[in-house]
């Protein structure tokens, strides 16, 4: 995982590097850490090499400030998670406006860093998650975020993607076990949906962002709604 630190204060940058290295030692992620003393240097690197997984960005820097850097990164449609690290808590809302993932206060860094990284690493790994499915068409390596929903049809299960479908001989129970805690929710004995693609749940009907509607049985409705609310709360 490639991590970029952008802070014109070398002491603060070193402090962050130490925390990252300590986290890496404990969790074995395999970080590659790059340091930049100015926003311009960071932008130059990102434009040439968009393969950054997390950016730690200070706000108060000489020249271009961190918010400006974040705005330019977002303008170029670069979706990399940005963690704002600053001494000034009043920038929290400004950070949100540039779609920063997290906002950490510098003098609480030692207390908050681990929780923040646990969450970030989990989200990044989840986004990149692929799984191999033994389909009728053969073994297929699928990115989980492209699966919209899965339904059973007799002895077969059908994976619905945005542009095609795949058939496989795994039962819904086996799939539920494999996809547990990976953003999938069993809403019906014959349906499991990727919560990322849920548009709304209302009046026992679940609507996906593709327009597909699935009726949720009354017995499952409360639990399905609860699980979806928790998913939304964690994902924002």
């Amino acid at each position: 995982m490639r991590v970029a630190i952008c802070d014109d204060d070398e002491t603060d940058a070193k402090r962050l590097r130490n925390l990252l290295e300590k986290y890496d030692d404990e969790h074995g992620i395999g970080f590659i850490i790059d340091e930049y003393l100015s926003g311009m240097d960071l932008l130059k690197f990102i434009r040439n090499n968009k393969n950054v997984d997390i950016i730690f960005l200070d706000i108060n820097m000489n020249g271009m400030d961190g918010l400006d850097v974040a705005r330019r990164i977002r303008k170029e449609a670069i979706d990399v998670p940005i963690v704002i690290v600053t001494a000034f808590i009043n920038y929290a809302l400004e950070g949100y406006k540039v779609q920063a993932s997290r906002f950490l206060v510098k003098d609480e860094l030692e207390k908050t860093f681990t929780e923040c990284m646990d969450d970030m690493v989990r989200q990044i790994q989840h986004k990149k998650m692929n799984m191999i499915f033994s389909c009728v068409e053969g073994e297929v390596n699928l990115s989980l975020e492209h699966i919209i929903y899965i339904e059973t049809n007799g002895h077969k299960s059908i994976i619905h993607m945005s542009d095609n479908t795949l058939n496989l001989y795994e039962t819904m129970e086996m799939l539920e076990e494999r996809l547990k805690n990976k953003g999938f929710l069993r809403v019906h004995k014959s349906y499991m949906v990727n919560m990322k693609h849920i548009h709304k749940i209302n009046n026992y009907i679940l609507q996906l962002d593709t327009g597909t509607e699935i009726r949720i049985p009354k017995a499952r409705y409360k639990q399905v709604k609860q699980d979806y609310i928790l998913y939304v709360g964690r994902a924002v």
Partner: protein
Amino acid sequence: MIAIIFSLVIMAFEAWGLVYYFDTFADCRLKRKIFRFPILYASVLIVVFMIPKSASSYYELVKYAAMIALLVIYCILVYKAHHFQSIFLAIMNYTLLVMVDFTFVWIFGIDKNPSILTRLTWIMYRVVWILILMCIRKKLSGLKRYMMTNSVYLKGYIWFPLISSLFGLYYMGKVFRTLETSVFYSLISIAIIAINIVSLYFMLYMAEKEEKIKKAEFQLRKNQNQIQVFRDMQSLYERQGKKLHDYKKQLITLRGLLEEREVKSAINLTNELTESIDVEMSEINVGHPVVNAVLNQEHRIARGKGIGMIFSVGNADNIKLNDEEIVILFGNLLENAIHECEKVIKAKGKAAIHLKIANMDQNTVITVQNPILEPVTIKEGEVVNLRQEGHGIGLSNVKEVVEKYDGSFAVSCDEEFTAVVII
């Protein structure tokens, strides 16, 4: 012909009274409420005419069971009542009718060939029953609010209508088999009616008492918050006093540097001082003054206890809650989190709370996540066994606020505790 007309009139009275009772304790879900009477009346007619009439005493038992089933289904479909509420209301509703009928039947007996006068008295029994329902509505309409929001109450009280209906079934069998009269059994019927009405009074009393306790606890919490605000202000003044003392020393140092013409050092010192003051004065701002006040206060408390906070906070200026509700919601969620983090810090040395406020499709999503020392049990979306520490009450206050705005609230506890509000 006359018998049929009288039967239709009596059933109309019964249907009207049954609807009246349901209206007393439940909200109608139909857009056109005027249809609730004809729907029930038609259903009653269908049920009565579907069951083949026989001389057997079991006819009345079958009719009783069928009517209860019909009323349960009717209540579920026409009123905003859960299954359990519907069963409770349906059994009590019909049992009251049957018991009033029995009171008179046990006194005056059953006439197998009733005259018009007898049939008119049967109508009179229904009128008495409706008068009882009117008294119930007058005295106990406050119970509707509690019944609709909390079916927990009903689980303890379902025995009253259930046992009454068992008595009713037994006596129904007896009276139609023996055709005898008995003042004693009539008095038992009256007692059963009274027990059911008393149980409703008791439910209302307990519900009002619980509400008063909640309000008192809320007031206590408000007072505690107020005291905390004053303590906070006091510690802020003390901190500011210390800072001023430090700044005074720094200014003396600055004066010394300027007197010795050490301009560069003086500028560096001034910059450091300015930054220190900026950091001290910086506060969370999410666009809503009351949300800001609560978040800043809780953040200060967390910092004072060595708990870190991670923020992902958007604009909260369009949050739908009033000031008091904002204090309840954010205050309770963050206080619970702080309380848990204190335990974690004692055991593991550090802890941090993750606070998220995001806007999504005109709703505000609020998430609070914190580490936990011991997992808590979540049952039906609620934390159990925390009442003695007061935290279950805090979260139930949050739930009430959320439900008022038709929002959503969910909690989970696996590796960490997560509470999500969508409002």
